[in-house]
Amino acid sequence: MVDFKVEPAVKRRINEINPNLDSRVSLIGRIIDVKEGLLILDDGTGKININLPEDIPKPQLMVGMLVRIFGFVIPSEPVEIQAEIIQDLSKLNLKYLDILRK
C-alpha cells in the first residue's frame, strides 16, 4: 500500500488557483517585487504573494526574472503560496512559454 504519495504540483495560472482543490501548484511568471521572505509573482492573469522560507532551493532572485515556483497553496484571503522550490527560467525561449505552461 502506498502511504507516502506526494500530490503533484499541478500547473496553474494564478487566476485559476482553487484553494479548495489545489494543495500543491507550479506557477510560471515574472517576479515584480522581492522583499525579505516574500516575492510577488505576476503571470499575466494576476499577481500573488509567494512566501519564501529561508532554506528552499532558489536562484538569486531579481525583479523581472522569469521563474517557475513549486509551492503549497495557503487558503488565505487573498490566496498565497508557500514556496518549496524556485527555478530560474531565464534561458527559456519566450516563444515556448505557453507550451511550457499548458
Binding site: M1, V6, P8, K11, I85, L100
Partner: protein, 137 residues
C-alpha cells in the same frame, strides 16, 4: 538473448496509470524477460522521465537513497541501492532526465535509475513535452 528495450519518454501520470506485470522466471524462455508496465497494450520495461526533484533522501548507511520526482502530472520515486554516485550532484530543485527500469514494491511503482542527467536549459522541457505528445497522443 533479450534485446534491451528502448526507454519510452512518458509523463509520470502515464507510468503510474500502468499495470505492473511481474514475470514468472521459472522457465528458460522468460529467464531474461524484464518486468514491465502495461499501458494501452504496450509492454514498457524502461522509461525516461523529465521532472523536478522535490525530495532527496539518503540513508545513514549511505547504501540506499530515493529521489522524489514531480513533472506536474504526478510524482514518482527513484530508488537507488548500493552505489549512490549516480545522485551525488543531484539536489532538491534540480530538473533531471532519468532513464531507468520500472519496478514495483508494495503497490508502489518506482524507477530504478540507470542514468540521471541534470538539465539546465528549460527549452529541453518544451522539446520533451512535444515529443511525448507527438508519440503518445
Amino acid at each position: 538473448m533479450q534485446e534491451r528495450q528502448v526507454a519510452r519518454k512518458l509523463y509520470i501520470r502515464t507510468i503510474n496509470s500502468g499495470k505492473f506485470v511481474q514475470i514468472e522466471r521459472n522457465d528458460e524462455e522468460n529467464r531474461f524477460t524484464p518486468n514491465y508496465i502495461e499501458i494501452n497494450g504496450d509492454k514498457i520495461a524502461r522509461v525516461r522521465v523529465l521532472a523536478t526533484v522535490i525530495d532527496k533522501f539518503v540513508s545513514e548507511s549511505n547504501e540506499y537513497a530515493t529521489l522524489t520526482l514531480d513533472d506536474t502530472t504526478d510524482t514518482i520515486r527513484c530508488k537507488i541501492f548500493g552505489d549512490l554516485n549516480i545522485i551525488e550532484n543531484i539536489e532538491k530543485g534540480d530538473v533531471v532526465d532519468v532513464i531507468g527500469k520500472v519496478r514495483e514494491y508494495n503497490g508502489e511503482i518506482y524507477i530504478q535509475p540507470e542514468i540521471i542527467v541534470k538539465i539546465d536549459n528549460p527549452n529541453f522541457e518544451v522539446l520533451r513535452k512535444l515529443e511525448i505528445e507527438k508519440y503518445n497522443g
